[in-house]
Point group: C2
Chain length 337, copies 2
């Protein structure tokens, strides 16, 4: 809006009126009421609009009562950027570096040594086991509240290299529109992410409008105890639940307690969640964000080490999942672009 002249009837508004005069009233009405303006017209957008219309049509064959309108969203690569590395991994490595001076013994471990040196490839060479060690060391020893505060402060002070933006600005505008559209239609939105639950809770309410109790994610053990006459919960290094792949339906059953009727993902890590959502009777919806836009964001799928999309893409057509082309289906990628 900053480019508008300071009159209320500005340039853009005048343009909209001129366009409007050339259109039939019903088309104009439909156009101005478009809940997904960043989505280009096409079968993917139409499928989502049709689904929501069907499940909210009272008395219709596909009607679903509001309490059962559960929609689950993956986070990395579905709601925000996950390249060139998961944001939480960047956070973990930053934290390992920051904590290294107080932990001289870390230098004995090659995985930690690589992490401290900023060598992401070397840090990744330890595989899942090495990664879980880093994650545990970087994200334990404090209360869940204090950890969330640490994550929030890190997000506040960190910038991504490509756009020089806060990481929580690298969210997909078309997906924010989907969140708002579903919410306006009585849906309950849950994030179901492989990321750590408290890390996501540090920004999910502010950025996505999703409150803490509607975030499902991977967890580290929490130890209850006392300190100075108060109950104190302490995050332990041990990762006790991985909310990814086959873990996603488990997380959904445990935290949400109801099968979603719509699910949104972008990788094979979401494959089981999309199946769990669409394998039940009744009208269902699943959508995969395909990262095929190297210019505006990134292009990757089968060969990627992050957000690998292979099996879920192959099976999308026969399972009736919507494969969204970021390049073709999205008129806009970021809110600020």
């Amino acid at each position: 809006m900053s480019q508008l002249p300071p009159t209320r009837f500005g340039r853009r508004r005048a343009g909209a009126v001129l366009v409007g005069l050339a259109l039939a009233p019903t088309v104009l009405q439909a156009q101005t009421a478009d809940p997904l303006p960043s989505w280009r017209a096409g079968p993917r957008k139409q499928a989502l609009l049709d689904f929501v219309a069907a499940v909210t049509r009272e008395g219709g064959p596909d009607f679903v009562p509001p309490s059962e309108r559960i929609a689950t969203f993956d986070n990395d690569g579905t709601l925000w950027v996950e390249q060139p590395a998961y944001t939480q991994l960047i956070f973990v490595l930053d934290r390992i570096r920051a904590l290294a001076p107080q932990n001289p013994d870390w230098q004995q471990d090659p995985v930690f040594r690589a992490a401290i040196a900023g060598d992401m490839r070397g840090a990744a060479a330890g595989g899942t086991e090495g990664l879980l060690k880093l994650v545990g060391a970087a994200q334990s020893g404090q209360t869940p509240d204090a950890f969330q505060q640490i994550a929030a402060e890190w997000l506040e002070g960190s910038r991504d290299r490509r756009w020089n933006r806060r990481y929580d600005e690298l969210v997909y505008h078309p997906m924010l529109e989907v969140l708002a559209f579903l919410r306006a239609n009585g849906f309950l939105i849950f994030i179901v992410s492989g990321g750590g639950v408290e890390f996501i809770r540090a920004f999910a309410e502010r950025v996505y409008g999703v409150p803490p109790h509607q975030v499902v994610g991977s967890t580290q053990a929490i130890r209850p105890g006392e300190q100075d006459g108060r109950i104190v919960l302490t995050r332990e290094p041990r990762v006790d639940f991985v909310d990814d792949g086959p873990g996603k339906p488990v997380g959904i059953a445990r935290y949400i307690g109801r099968r979603p009727i719509a699910a949104f993902g972008n990788s094979d890590g979401d494959y089981q969640m999309l199946r769990y959502t669409t394998e039940a009777p009744g009208r269902r919806f699943a959508l995969i964000v395909h990262h095929d836009d190297a210019e505006r964001e990134y292009a990757y799928d089968r060969e990627s080490h992050i957000g690998r999309l292979d099996r879920a893409m192959d099976e999308a057509p026969r399972r009736g999942w919507q494969l969204v082309s970021m390049k073709n289906d999205w008129a806009k990628v970021f809110p600020w672009a």
Copy 2:
């Protein structure tokens, strides 16, 4: 209302008007708007009214935004009857008996043998370990959805012996009023119970208006798998989280992700939850239902094997927790009474 004559201006209404004429208009207004009519006037009721008024008064020193108005409720003994045995334990024993013919090996185990014989004392003799074995055996082998259905059907077909009522009719009317009152004031209600999460979800939405994702409870492990080309989740016998005592703050941190500002319990199993709620800065509220009404319900506290109330009662005064006398503070106990 069944005793009212079929005119709109009935006996009770006429009585209310007569009383009203004798009162100042403001008092009448306050009286007719009483959100807790089953609570007798007194310091406990007043404390709850004052707390809610304070945290919802915009611009006031104790104002809490709606997203942080989290209230947690224990279930057994706080929202519904827990005597002469936890309802879920009665369910478990009924199920052990029903499944015994298909499990002849159970006869080798004295705890199972006692359970099958309906000998609750013998079944309890195995201690926590024996109990967890029974719980695991009775509540595993099916999907979480199927288990919830089994629990719902059991509730449908079972009656308690004292009142010959469905167990989910043995809910405390004054507490239902508290749920409605808090909800009307923008609170988010969570059940935080030592009971199994899916057992409570089987009735919580219908009876308390609390949706599945707002129920925190003890859990059994869930194993993801496939069957006939579909994803199938299976409940395992292993209890992997006990949401009781020190586990309640852990469950709150994990599932809710925000510290409650109000908590309601009835036993030492709620002690840590009440402390966790009231040990943080800002205006807080905690309430304990003291079962001292053998006539209308049950009378028990320090010596009870179920819902033992000892330490929490002792510390209530200095911690500012409201100790509610069921006998004196509640004008009515059950909705149907």
